[in-house]
């Protein structure tokens, strides 16, 4: 619903806008859908000028259709599959995290979501030598644990012996931003978008993955009670994440909590129905008593059948 404003396109002057507004045409949609001959007569404006303005507005504001073959070619060239650092999790996710999509990890407290995120960051930074952005909203990011995981992964791959300093370089490729409320998070995402679109050559480098741990920690203080703007902000956030993933070919991973309907009901993902449409893949993590093993099951996926389960070791 964009309002007509002077300077929106070359032919649109302030006088034109006043005349149009006097005749009830305020927004772009009104202009484009009205009968231009009638408008030219009523507002005493030139028909050619109006047609030119309409052409420019259509080019600026409409979406262009693409056919399936072009879309397929584009996806083939721009999508990458990132390994998560754990072969069983890769198998669950159909060989890894797909860029251009939002993946969600959910689980009860202590089920290992932060650990899995750390191992994903370690694997992408060490194995693929790509940059990772970690947005931490719970204060649970522990660099020493990440370093431990990097060392463990370096020992697994013997060919890393050529670069003995792989650990510190891998740590430098992971940037951590601490965001503790929704506005800080939105600001950080906006900064990221500005930086990526300007292609500033900085220490950011080629970014491939954005991890957000956790999304429910920033959204929960807004939902509930009698105020309803929380849902609007949640949807703004989801739009930001999805457009970031799609436009810049990033893999976005978010972690979410689980809640119960009442004290005896089954566990279900937090943030409700509206959020459930945002991630394209959802993985539920469950802990087993007394071990470091976790059971990961697929709750939603565009590629694999749901319900398959694998075991992870986060020790």
């Amino acid at each position: 619903m964009v309002v007509l404003r002077a300077g929106l396109c070359p032919g649109l002057t302030e006088d034109m806008i006043q005349l149009l507004r006097a005749n009830g045409i305020r927004t772009v949609v009104d202009f484009v859908s009205s009968d231009l001959e009638g408008v030219a007569q009523k507002c005493s404006l030139s028909y050619k000028a109006l047609v030119a303005v309409r052409r420019v507005l259509l080019a600026q504001f409409s979406a262009f259709p693409a056919n399936g073959a072009d879309l397929y070619e584009e996806l083939k060239s721009s999508t990458a599959i990132l390994p998560t650092g754990s072969p069983s999790l890769d198998q669950l996710l159909d060989s890894g995290l797909y860029t251009g999509e939002v993946t969600e990890l959910m689980g009860a407290p202590g089920s290992g979501k932060t650990q899995v995120c750390l191992s994903m960051a370690a694997s992408v930074s060490l194995g693929l030598k790509q940059h990772v952005l970690f947005l931490d909203s719970t204060g649970g990011f522990t660099a020493s644990r990440l370093y431990q995981m990097l060392r463990a992964q370096t020992e697994d791959e013997e060919e890393q012996a050529s670069s003995p300093g792989a650990g510190p370089f891998a740590l430098q490729r992971i940037q951590v931003v601490r965001v503790f409320n929704i506005y800080e998070l939105l600001r950080a995402l906006q900064e990221l978008r500005d930086r990526l679109s300007q292609q500033v050559v900085s220490s950011m480098g080629p970014l491939k993955m954005v991890l957000l741990d956790s999304v429910s920690a920033v959204i929960y203080p807004l939902l509930g009670g009698r105020q309803s703007e929380g849902l609007a902000l949640m949807m703004q956030l989801s739009r930001e994440l999805k457009t970031l993933a799609r436009e810049f070919s990033l893999a976005v991973v978010v972690t979410n909590q689980v809640t119960r309907d009442n004290s005896t009901g089954p566990l279900k993902p937090a943030l409700g129905r509206s959020w459930s449409f945002v991630p394209s893949t959802r993985v539920l993590l469950e802990s087993k008593e007394g071990t470091t093993h976790r059971a990961a099951s697929l709750a939603k996926s565009p590629r694999q059948p749901t319900g398959i389960q694998v075991e992870l070791d986060i020790g």
Binding site: M1, V2, V3, R5, T27, A108, P109, G110, A121, S137, T138, G139, G140, F141, T142, A143, S144, L146, Q148, P168, L171, Q172, I174, Q175, V176, V177, R178, V179, F180, N181, Y183, E184, R187, A188, E191, R193, D194, V200, S203, S216, A217, Y220, P221, L222, L223, G224, G225, R226, Q227, E229, A232, L233, Q236, E240, Q257, V258, T259, T264, T292, G315
Partner: protein
């Protein structure tokens, strides 16, 4: 500045009106100016001016940040964080088994939650930590002050006096055994009156007072910059009774958790909360689980559950970002929170005095 209007921190009613008037990005708002804005949206000029000020702050904040100044945002690489963590101290608990499973003690900049049934020792540990945070750095402590927010009224000053006296005694013994000058000098300021005067005590009677206190805490902490520990004894108590609207309770609790994380992070202090236990009635059996619901479990970074096993007190590390789950036993003596004494007292290789209360870590400090 292509920041969308929906993402700016303005009042929700104002945001809705701006969206209805057709404004989409922050740049459009800034271009229109206060007069145009008040005319198109139908708000007063003062409101328009205020809104534009907020927008300008956000956008110029963005510009300053992209220019390289990272003062306000908490942005750093993992390598810098690792270096920070390695130099950070821990608040010891005087129970070496508990310190071990926590990875050295209660960590600064993180929220630790202690859950347990009544009488198992949560307040005792809180009082012990309020004393331990003040241990001087040469003895292995963080030399900080403590803020104690009490909602249940279980803070007993006489008990803190006992614990503090035992701690001072312990440090005297170490100083005498090691015979170093700086240890003795540090002990001059580490006295009973000093310890008690550096514990800032607040009493909150209901949840409104608690929320207000936490809201005012950042100001207090910037004046008293040496505070390294914030204890909230009994975070469950004000929230468990008298709440009809449970979704409001979840919202308030989560907002509180986020504020506490910000405090822990910005002022580099440890936040310790104590929680109660409640019964979850399952199909065949009922279990004791921490109170305040599922979503509260995510608020704390580290979660310890204290429970009984016949007459032995046990502590289980239930959730931690860097340590494995494990259970240890502990004891509460007249001197405070301590290890369980092993049946045979083995002679330590250092050959110091046969004081069974002395923690094995003093051997490392001798280096």
């Amino acid at each position: 500045m292509q920041r969308e209007v929906g993402t700016l921190p303005l009042a929700p009613a104002l945001r809705a009106r701006l969206a209805a008037a057709g404004f989409q990005t922050a740049q459009e708002l800034l271009d229109t100016g206060p007069c145009g804005l008040s005319k198109e949206v139908g708000i007063s000029r003062e409101e328009a001016l205020e809104a534009l000020q907020v927008v300008r702050q956000e956008c110029h904040g963005d510009a300053a940040r992209t220019a390289g100044r990272s003062g306000a945002t908490r942005k750093c690489t993992a390598l810098e964080l690792l270096e920070e963590e390695q130099t950070q101290g821990f608040i010891i608990t005087f129970c070496s088994a508990l310190d071990n499973i926590l990875g050295g003690g209660v960590q600064l900049t993180k929220i630790t939650e202690i859950c347990g049934a009544p009488g198992v020792g949560k307040t005792q540990l809180c009082m012990q930590l309020a004393v331990d945070v003040q241990i001087p750095e040469c003895f292995g402590g963080v030399a900080g002050e403590a803020v104690f927010i009490d909602t249940e009224g279980s803070f007993m000053v006489d008990r803190v006096v006992d614990i503090a006296a035992a701690c001072v005694q312990h440090c005297h013994l170490i100083a005498e055994a090691q015979q170093e000058e700086d240890l003795r000098k540090a002990l001059e300021t580490f006295s009973l009156e000093n310890i008690l005067s550096h514990i800032y005590y607040f009493r909150c009677r209901d949840y409104t007072e608690l929320l207000a206190q936490v809201y005012l805490l950042p100001e207090f902490l910037s004046e008293h910059s040496k505070v390294r520990l914030v204890v909230i004894d009994g975070i469950a108590f004000p929230f468990r009774h008298d709440f009809e609207d449970l979704s409001l309770r979840t919202r308030l609790l989560n907002g509180l958790a986020q504020q506490l994380i910000i405090i822990a992070n910005d002022h580099r202090s440890a936040v310790v909360l104590t929680n109660q236990m409640t019964t979850r009635i399952g199909q065949s059996q009922s279990t004791l689980v921490p109170a305040l619901g599922e979503s509260w479990g995510h608020a704390a970074t580290v979660r310890l559950i204290f429970h009984w096993d016949n007459s032995q007190r046990l502590a289980t590390l239930y959730k931690s970002p860097s340590q494995k789950e494990s259970t240890i036993a502990y004891h509460i003596t007249s001197h405070g929170f301590r290890d369980v004494q092993p049946p045979a007292v083995t002679q330590s290789s250092g050959g110091t005095e046969l004081n069974p209360r002395k923690r094995p870590r003093t051997e490392e400090e001798k280096q």
